[in-house]
Amino acid sequence: MEQQFWKKVAPMHEVGAAVQRVDAIDKVKGTAKYTDDLCPKPCLVARVVHAQIANGWVRAIDTTEAESLPGVVAVFTFKDVPEHRFPTPGHPWSVEPAHQDVADRRLLDDRVRIYGDDIAVVVAEDNVAADRGVRSVLSHVDYEELPPMTTVAQALAPDAPVLHPEVRETNVLARSDMVTPLEGTGYDSVEEALADPRYHHYEAHTETQQVDQTHIETNVCYAYMESGRITVVSSTQIPHIVRRVCGQALGVPWGTIRVIKPYIGGGFGNKQEVLYEPLCAWLTSQLGGRVVEIELPREEVFQNTRSRHPMSFDVQCAYDDDMNIIARSCSCLSNQGGYASHGHALAANAINAFRWAYKDKVGCHTQASTVYTNIPAPGAMRAYGMPQGQFTVECMMDDIARKEGWDPIDFRLKNLMPEGYSDPFNGITNHANGFPQTLIAGREASGWDDFKARYKDETGPIRHGIGMSAFVYKTGVYPISLETSTARLVLNQDGTCQLSVGATEIGQGADTVFSQMAAETIGVPTSWVHIVSFQDTDVTPFDTGAYASRQTYVTGHAVRKTAEKFRQNILDYAYELKPEARGLTIAGGEIVDEAGEVLLGMEELAQEAFYSFRHSVHIHAEETAQVRDNTFAFGTCFVKVEVDMPLGRVKILDILNVHDSGRIINPATAEGQVHGGMAQGIGAALYEEQLIDPATGRLLNPNLLDYKIPTSMDVPDLKCLFVETDDPSGPYGNKALGEPPLMPPTPAIRNAILDATGCAFFQIPMTQQRLVAKFKEEGLI
């Protein structure tokens, strides 16, 4: 691609090509099947009864009237479901109890911890009957109500009611406190360095909002029973984890659950959690195995599924006159809402994102607390806690540069994470460093210096500015959690092959890049690799699923290892057929010898292997890759804005993301990933925000009209560049790309507004109303 002007990777054959998505044709024909498309209709419809308080208990519930309504088949309440609690996040399981996820969920509960908590469920012949049943139940509920705690401060108050006394004595789910090694720095603490009068001092407080994933397909699943086992078909990123959690929730052996994952209409982390599948599985088990479907209305997706954690940060920095960062501290409070979900992992990521991009001459002290409250529980969302911390540090970098009159890019370059850096706490290492190039390339491609010069002394109500931000991201979850994946390859009679992985296609293009990887290693064209796109836990190899930008890296290793074995198995059979041959290999789909002579085609070999009277073998390979490494991906965003101050409007004139994600497996799908992330970053910067009524704990904007994601008229043309590196730890030199693109636009827009108006914002989204209030305060309008 002409855009890649900086490249130090050697070309491959299939990997690196802009191969057409393997699912593109089915999706444009409208024949690609998503969960509800497969559900046999009519089926039983389940609607959850959601509490109309945010904190308290159901003291009485009467379902008699609801059960008598025409079309209502059954009503179940918290009294009917198993007593025990189970964990829901899409993490790899741990065999060590101390590392297992917090089990704080029941299928239905009388303890109400969020507005809209699940207290009962109505199963009916159609949605009208089900909704009538829900309204009937709701008119027969008595609550004992406590005031809702929507903020961390409320939940930390000494007399605050404890939301989960069974798992924690207070509302603090977890805390962490880390100081980078100080040996040889001459300081005993980071605070001592921060207080050193020889240095300049910076302090700030930032607040980031609750963002919704807003996949266009809502959360949906259906379940039925066959041969005494339960099948759950679900729009999920993590089918094998859904199997485990359903087993745990129902208290049945995990093998009695079968999970099928069809195409899914986006997830962005919200489907990296097991939300309604266990209830759906339990319902079919109570109703004779009939098909029961739970398809969440959009409002319930907002209120009852996950979101990005609202966080606040208090940061300090000491720096010297030579642009060196001396020391930093960062204290983060993460609002966990009513359930542990993915919990403290997000806050831990946030403070790592604060720390990683820049080095401290002395050290960095980071602390984080994750606290239960009564807001709808946040969980996983694309980039998983990192955007909040990155926003904070990128505010800091620009504010300092502006105060000192330094160029923000030069200031960052001076302090950037160096090649070979290894995290002192978890050992994650900068194996391949394209980080500086993402700044240098962006500066040039964005016309940074010209734009700065052009609008240097602008006055009047309309102002122009350019801003940038940088980020660091890791690849997968090792060593915090297990990284393991299996792939399977089976040779077909025509010489093509089937590839099966437990990793999931969720729109990001995983199936396409896995096909390219397998083809690269086997030595065949990508079109010869037929990937099985649906996962079925009965037949699909194990993989924990789509999250943490892990699949091209971790599953990529499994695909590579399997393809190497598969290739070897093919060649072994080729030697049986051509015992005199030497140095056999597969190239372009043919078996060639060391002289480059074609000895036989793959189809010929496959036919022989299948049907030979002499030796029939069904050539296949299945390998597990356990990955014990991790690596950093890098990038930047450059944004030009026009700010109409009296109206509080920010127009994005130009936006560019630059990424070092190692080797790009497929430039076309990679660019698509970047574009989507950029639009999400724009939304988070300017308008996306879940608004909670503090008096009731109710979400005020649980719909697509009032929760604003960008429309096609809200984003400008999106530009991206790749600075390619060859990461030695990646299966094909690649590293994370899926999540990172959404991170840098948000702080880059913030910094562009700062450049345009001189106003520094510390809270996102930077809504029109907040902008106008600030501009008034500063006397700009």
Binding site: D37, K41, G265, G672
Partner: protein, 172 residues
């Protein structure tokens, strides 16, 4: 109450027995098996359920089936040629890598089909406005706008060629 509605769906005239409370979206998906028509919000805010009603793109979630008496409805399933050839809109979405999760795709195809059907050319900003009734969370719309622009230009080229040929006919 059940009622019969006579309508033409993807070129086939049929009488469909429906519950009068059904939205067109329900009828197309659950009675006719046309599952390209997606349910994203049920209140006309996402565009995933867009179909052509008498040639105009509408949200099928906010439309009662009993209002469709005598109407002609086209869904993405109805666009495919018998030999499987894609329409210029569908092909452009493939070629421009404009498909990711694919859930908004059929709806966008229907709006784009109406747009290219005019035979007119549109600026990128006009295209952005014409597809602004569709929410997409994967693509940032970049490649979708590219694809619609490409299909618009291809179809306008054809329309202009045809009209130039006809102009030639008149001259003769």
């Amino acid at each position: 109450m059940m009622r019969f509605v006579k309508m033409t769906v993807n070129g086939k005239t049929m009488e469909v027995g429906v519950d009068e409370r059904e939205m067109l979206l329900d009828t197309l998906r659950d009675r006719l098996g046309l599952t390209s028509v997606k349910r994203g919000c049920e209140v006309g805010e996402c565009g995933a359920c867009t179909v052509l009603l008498d040639g105009t793109a509408i949200d099928s979630c906010l439309y009662l089936t009993i209002w469709c008496e005598g109407a002609e409805i086209i869904t993405t399933e109805g666009l495919l040629a018998r030999d499987g050839t894609l329409t210029p809109v569908q092909q452009a979405l493939v070629d421009e890598a404009a498909v990711q999760c694919g859930f908004c795709t059929p709806g966008i195809i229907m709006s784009a089909t109406e747009i290219v059907g005019t035979g007119k050319r549109y600026t990128r900003d006009e295209i952005r406005k014409l597809i602004s009734g569709h929410l997409c969370r994967c693509t940032g719309y970049q490649n979708i706008v590219n694809a619609v622009e490409r299909a618009v230009n291809e179809c306008a080229d054809i329309a202009e060629r045809v009209s130039a040929e006809h102009a030639g006919d008149d001259a003769v």
